[in-house]
Symmetry: D2
Subunit: 216 residues, 4 copies
């Protein structure tokens, strides 16, 4: 299982979360990563944990003031990037272009989408992975695997039918090891989560709870 901790624009210490991720990563077979603000990518990556961007633009070099350049993100030490999170929806053309630009510089991609139909759609663009996150469940505390397990099953089936090499994550409301285990049983290859770890009093403890749900 791949567990990505999205720090969003939270008022949290990215290095403290990175430290927790590093500690827990040593004792689990799960793959763990942190997605901080772009300003913090280099520091988090230097800390020795897998680091992801929350977004990159569909650009390479050039006159693109205020856009996030995939190559700069890669140079800062990121392994991959989220794309089209429901808080940062992009046009279809931009998603397509950003996947290509990320590929060019060796960044993996997780493209988020709202429902199984959109998951099938983005799977056709050859990302590394897709993540289904019903917007109404984000931050709800109710895991998608419990609120609507069929969404996860359909997303997995849809993505696989389009491109077997695309991994499928699920997100929204995941906060416990049971949620992670349920996501895995529904066919998901990983989970996206955010406040449950990023804003936890003890991020390492929260992560330990989550990885307890990971079975080889």
């Amino acid at each position: 299982m791949f567990i990505v901790v999205n720090l969003k624009a939270y008022d949290c210490d990215p290095i403290a979360v990175a430290t927790a991720v590093g500690d827990v990563a040593d004792d689990t077979t799960a793959r763990l990563a942190v997605a901080p603000q772009p300003t913090d990518i280099a520091a988090v990556a230097d800390h020795g944990v897998e680091t992801w961007a929350q977004h990159v633009d569909s650009i390479d070099s050039g006159s693109h003031t205020g856009h996030v350049r995939p190559r700069s993100v890669a140079n800062a030490g990121a392994t991959g990037t989220l794309l089209n999170h429901s808080e940062r929806r992009r046009t279809l053309a931009e998603i397509d272009g950003a996947i290509s630009r990320a590929d060019d510089v060796g960044l993996e991609t997780i493209v988020c989408a709202n429902n199984p139909a959109q998951i099938s759609a983005v799977s056709a663009l050859s990302p590394t992975a897709v993540a289904v996150e019903p917007p109404e469940l984000i931050g709800s505390g109710t895991p998608v695997s419990q609120a609507d397990p069929e969404i996860v099953r359909e997303a997995v089936a849809g993505a696989t039918a389009i491109d077997e090499s695309v991994s499928v994550l699920c997100g929204a409301g995941i906060s416990s090891g049971d949620d992670v285990a349920a996501a895995s049983e529904l066919g998901s290859d990983g989970v996206l989560l955010a406040s449950g770890v990023a804003l936890a009093d003890d991020p390492a403890r929260a992560l330990n709870g989550l990885v307890a749900g990971v079975h080889d």
Copy 2:
């Protein structure tokens, strides 16, 4: 073959084009439609020709000042709507939502996309049709069927693999009956065109040239 004449924001008389479309439609097996400005949908539809919107928003009723309501478009007499034209790209979530809202009110949908991968993507959202239009050929005078026939073949194959019920149109640079015939031979079910008819001195003559390429 389905021939859609997109009037964009051209300085043309929509009723004159509609008259030409009506005249030519009487003598061809091809299906012809006009996509005028939203302000002109009712007048064009009242003129007795098939009328399409150029865009609708992913909304139904409510507080959406300045957005184009699918139901108002349908009430004005439109049969369908273009979506995600390269001059009006939308987020994936908006394309998905607009298809659903259009379905709700009985509007057909043609979702435009730039390349075969994006055509596969939008085909997963269950539109009525998709249209592949390489942005670099729009308005170029060089038809996609000639500049890059493989794009049309791949778009047809990709869309069909996802959903056999989705029609595939192609656009960009189409101006003659030969272009229409070539598009048809490549597997396309129709063409999108714009300035070649909308800005022609004699739109009926331009259309007659185009439908000469339609073979049953």
Copy 3:
């Protein structure tokens, strides 16, 4: 006083509202207008009442599929257009361009903004009028003239300091003649309203209530 009834994307009959506006307009010194969906501009204008667009794009003629052309709006019979409503915020450059394109075709402009500072900003772009609408009060039933009269006073002072020829409207929560009278006393030249008339069981009665607050 200028009273603009914004029909948004409401599920209402634009001709029924137009009829009510026409009836009431005959018996008041207030200036009344209706802002329907773009598809309904021609029908409402043909009905003989002053008609406004809810939005136009910063374009003139050309390849702008899915955008609303100011000249088409004017040709359909509109007198003016709202711009930058809080439900359709535009970039500063687009607001500036749309005002110019509207001017070119003889459309008046009312540019909406959220607070007095933004009202001063848009007043510098030489629109016909500005409208201050605190987003949190839109649809609240509490008029801005009551919830925060200082916002209206500051908007009037700010706009006038920048350009004395710019009229100032206020909006959000206005539903009675008292609200209109209060808006006028605070220095406002008109009001924007929406559901209070558009969704009223009896729009003419709602309008009569509003114009009762207009004193020469």
Copy 4:
């Protein structure tokens, strides 16, 4: 004079430019700053030169995946941020909000705009500074001070009339000390430039040429 070197998404070494800026800054009365990609802000600031962001979003803490948080930019060591660059235009409401959020965390702001009317508009939002950059001159090699000196004079007059405390920079096409001197003589308090330094074979030499135009 304030000289801001915008690194855009250029394929350049931000530390090499920062080194040049640091060297030149020691020998001039001009204030020099570098605006790198967000991923490079911390490294450039740690290098000891004044560092600016190219963009921040109108957010503080919270669920804003993929947005650039002003506080994170400040924490990384930035002094200020560009806003509304013509390559990253924002809505009026977002510019207003981003200035406030930047103020909250002690970031200075330079709001870009296309013409004097827009400069007056953004000056009403109380930024630290404004920058007038005619889009058609960006990257042209022809300085605005030469192509259209009246634009700079009008921008200075317009901004000052609205808020005397707002500084006025100009940009687009500036590449020599003469251009900087001309900008200063037209009343400008600084210049924005990009490729002339960022992509120079010898950035220090390019900067020395520019600061030669600065007279106390």
